[in-house]
Symmetry: C2
Subunit: 630 residues, 2 copies
């Protein structure tokens, strides 16, 4: 059978297809096709506000499940909210503000059923660390706060922009391995910083790298406070043990979820009774009652701080999306639904932009709380609304109760929540499967802990990208042989039992042929030929007369690649070797035609399958040999 040229496609329609594949690969408009205008409007509203979708189908059974999971994550969120705000060097109350409003907004616009929205340890640390380079949180607390809110505002703008312009795929460049390394590195840093609270140190470094932190820890051992150490170690142990029980047996998930809140209640009460704050145990202090105040007047929308905030926002936006989408997709695939990345980005963007105007700092779907939410059996985003309601009550009524909460408790809670993010098992798994991925992972990890958070990320992404480009520069090629008794041709290295046909060489190129690899492919083809001739020379077989290139995996070629083929053909011809192609794809076949290479090769040397090509070539060879023999 003949190789077909695909049906004619104009440049404009080809361009349109490329744009569609690049920006709309998930075909979000599928559901709008063949609908009336009214239905389209309803569908669009449902698409933008998934609450209309799940809200309409909401059942009583769902309500019970969501109430339980909502209360569970609420009891986690209160202490974590207060604690994480301190990671971002913000007043503790902002952690609670950020746990109240964003979950409500996400429940309306987000499509994940499992994410628990609020401040996340990683995001808080990243924001806090980068912000510190712009404003000192101790000397200029007001500027620091305003910058944090402004950065959150732009984080939202960037996230929504990525979603609207369908650029969500940029987040994909943070590979799984990069994320594992980066998150583990940040977790190590967070844990180390908690040593300040647990040891009760008053002076501490503002740098985030491991050397400075360890130096600060061991600089003044006489400052270590045994009271805080005892409290800290006890409660870290308590949290870890309950967590361990909770993950071992899902029935006891409430144990792990309740432990932090219990810790807070107990330690606050004890501190209040014993007045431990007078013995060097630092406490949270005054917390203002009331809901989020409006903060639009605190945003910098002009002036020199805008650029600084945007720079911070780029990193925060990327890490926030990465965290939420990675964890959201995992749970979605467990429940058998799919998350639309771009849609989620719009939801997170709107959420952060709006909440920055209401005294919230950057929030996302936090990894550990989302896992608790999932394990507690949440059904819809309603669990976020439940949590938000609890936080509202807390803000309005219970705030003064946290006055005496010791900082060491918060440090212990952070420590216990974050230590699980250090993930040597996954890193080992990556090491076993893919060494270059592991390199990116470990480089990200070491970069974060020894240099800085941004550099760690940049190094890991650079390694991942360099690998992609190297793969494009040195694509795989293989020699094919026939599996005996079939007309199937396979890689000789993988299938050692394959046969070769005398005088014919079958080579498969396993990548698109571009300027970056055209030369390599030329050299590699001649090396395969030379290797084969060497082997033939020893075994006394005849030399190569036909070279068949299997183009099945070659999905595209550029003008440099065509030049490479012309070069190969010219040299082969001068050696009396005939070139043939098997199974060119539509794009490649079209370009070979347009570039006139096909005319110089001859249409008869293009075959549908490798086995057809081999049959034709070997019968030609047999005829030649017969002619020579006569």
């Amino acid at each position: 059978m003949e190789v077909l040229r695909p049906p004619y496609k104009s440049s404009a329609s080809a361009f349109g297809d490329t744009v569609k594949e690049t920006f709309f690969p998930d075909d979000p408009f599928r559901q709008f096709r063949h609908q009336t205008a009214a239905t389209k409007f309803v569908l669009a509203m449902r698409y933008m506000f998934p609450v209309l979708d799940w809200g309409a189908k909401y059942k009583f059974a769902d309500l019970r499940a969501d109430l339980v999971s909502g209360l569970t994550i609420a009891s986690l969120s209160i202490p974590q909210g207060i604690a994480y705000a301190k990671l971002a060097n913000l007043p503790p109350i902002y952690g609670l503000y950020s746990t109240f409003l964003p979950p409500l907004l996400y429940a309306i616009m987000g499509s994940s059923r499992d994410l628990a929205i609020g401040p996340s340890a990683i995001l808080s640390l990243v924001l806090g660390t980068i912000l510190r380079q712009e404003a000192d949180p101790v000397k200029e607390p007001e500027l620091h706060l305003r910058l944090a809110l402004t950065a959150t505002f732009f984080t939202g703008v960037i996230q929504a922009g990525l979603g609207v312009f369908r650029l969500g795929f940029l987040i994909d460049f943070l590979s799984h391995a990069t994320i594992v390394g980066f998150v583990s590195g940040v977790a190590v840093i967070i844990c180390l910083q908690q040593l300040k609270g647990i040891l009760g140190l008053t002076h501490f470094t503002t740098k985030s790298d491991i050397i400075s932190v360890l130096h600060a820890v061991f600089e003044h051992p006489q400052q270590w406070n045994w009271r805080t150490i005892v409290i800290g170690v006890c409660f870290v142990t308590l949290c870890l043990v309950t967590k361990y029980i909770g993950t071992r047996n899902r029935k006891y998930f409430w144990l792990s979820a309740g432990a932090p809140m219990t810790t807070v209640v107990v330690t606050t009460f004890c501190t209040y009774i014993t007045h431990a704050e007078k013995h060097g145990v630092s406490i949270v202090g005054h917390l203002k009652k009331g809901l989020n105040p409006i903060s639009t007047h605190k945003l910098f929308l002009t002036g020199p701080y805008v650029l600084a905030s945007v720079k911070i926002a780029v990193v925060v936006a990327a890490i926030g999306l990465m965290e939420a989408i990675a964890i959201g997709r995992t749970f979605a695939s467990m429940k058998g639904y799919d998350l639309d990345g771009n849609k989620e980005m719009i939801a997170f963007g709107v959420m952060n932009t709006c909440s920055a105007c209401m005294s919230c700092y950057a929030t996302t779907g936090a990894v550990s709380r989302s896992a608790v939410n999932f394990n507690a059996g949440c059904r819809t985003a309603f669990s976020n609304i439940v949590m938000s309601f609890v936080i509202m009550v807390t803000l309005l009524v219970l705030m003064p109760l946290f006055h005496y909460t010791p900082n060491v408790t918060l440090a212990a809670i952070i420590f216990a929540a974050v230590i699980g993010l250090i993930d040597p098992c996954t890193a080992y798994q990556i090491f076993k499967v893919d060494k270059i991925d592991f390199l990116a992972c470990i480089a990200g990890f070491l970069g974060v802990i020894f240099i800085s958070i941004q550099m760690g990320l940049v190094i890991a992404v650079t390694i991942s990208l360099a690998r992609l480009i190297l793969q494009m520069t040195r694509p795989h090629t293989s020699l094919l042989g026939q599996i005996p008794g079939t007309n199937v041709f396979r890689n000789k290295k993988q299938y050692p039992g394959t046969m070769k046909t005398d005088g014919i060489l079958v080579i498969r190129i396993d990548a698109g042929i571009y300027f970056s690899n055209a030369n390599y492919i030329r050299e590699r083809v001649f090396r395969w030929i030379a290797d084969e001739e060497d082997a033939n020379g020893k075994s006394g077989q005849s030399s190569i007369r036909y070279v068949i290139i299997d183009l099945t995996p070659v999905m595209n070629i550029d003008t440099s690649g065509i030049h490479g083929f012309e070069n190969i053909q010219r040299i082969l011809k001068s050696r009396g070797v005939q070139l043939a192609f098997a199974n060119p794809g539509s794009g490649v076949f079209e370009k070979l035609h347009k570039s006139k290479f096909m005319e110089s090769l001859g249409q008869q040397w293009v075959f549908l399958t490798v086995s057809e090509a081999v049959q034709v070539c070997s019968s030609l060879l047999a005829m030649e040999n017969k002619g020579l023999a006569e």
Copy 2:
């Protein structure tokens, strides 16, 4: 037949293989294998100094051919050498110095038989333009000259370094399309600058972009000198007409080769007779007799100018290699031999480093003279030695004769030599074959003429690289159908006659699966399924029960890719759809095993060929349907 796992390969040997494929794809040590130490030494000397190779086999017939071609290019080189030095803002004599020594060095070390070595118009302009940003050639001529020599020295060091460290593939990132656009752009700039000489202007811009140059040309039309215009237009016409005749009919190649020299002789004589230099016709002026003086004392090897020189050298080295290797490879493939890129880089590197110590500026294999050399029938690099000898005689004896050569003649010679490098036909051919390549080409062209030479290069390379990464981010996927009467499965879009099997979907992924495309592939697979279910729904067929993914073209996968597959499998399973793979390559199969994905999928769902997979799935489907019917 079963899919085989490839024979075990340790990580170290896999790493070794990667290094070998990356840096030694052409296997340069092949010839040294199984040889005695003495033979190895002889072979190594021959490899380093190809003159030992071709010199030993030299015949009388070769000598005649090389004499003719050597004399031909010599007659071109003298006027071009003087003229190109002026493009680089250097004293004209340096053009001749650079035409004397480098060809001798290349004849010893280079392996191309066709390149004519010497100053090139493009390289001279690039060097001159970038140098001007460091030192003014009019106000600080000595500093300018020293910087030029230093930059040449480092150009050689960089070129040799690229060759020694086997990094020659970096040059491949300058794609064919980029080169066409860049060279055309530089040629336009060179031609425009010659308007200064042809119009006889005394004041001219030092900028290289088209707007400044055209502004300078039309700023003072009263300065235009009719004498130089007449001479210029006449000789440009003469050169172009003879060149046209020469390319039309290879018998008359001497016409085009001789025209520039004739022009120089005639105009020099006429100027001498008429004393036209007193009527505003500027002349070359005094030229010192004698061979290249030693210039080691002029090189900056310490101090602040080193860094500046290295920066210039990076660009000059890349462009020099690009020009020489592109043209060298073209001629090599025409004569059926192959050029070793890394070996050539070492030759060019040694040539430039040594000649910078002997008052030569950056040289390379010049495009136009190499073409003349090839057309004149050169056989070996001996033609370069002949040329060099002629230049030596010129330097020793004939220098004073060029005193009266008018500058307009040189401008006309450059104009005629360079205008042929503007190549709209190739650009149109690129446009027809590959639109993105054309984009890189035209962006390079416009960048060079409107912004600057470096920016043009950067823009074109960026576009080419972005295309590669986009291709990795959005790889091609296709739906396969069975060609009736065979067990061959092909892309349905390319082969509209293919049949589909009820309830089974066959998808082929045409690229390695990495973090950059794992999400896209997941979305795309589900889109193929949704599209098919839609079509089935209309035609009343049953829904998809089996999804077979053809992994033939998938040569590699990373941990993100495996995660993507796990995701796909989980969602398909929850929908009651079975996933199957066909023909995984060794690398992918190995990684799927190591990551435990294979255990969750089940080894029985991996098939050697698509047709086997379809057979098994359809017989299972038939059994199920029968069960349901009963």
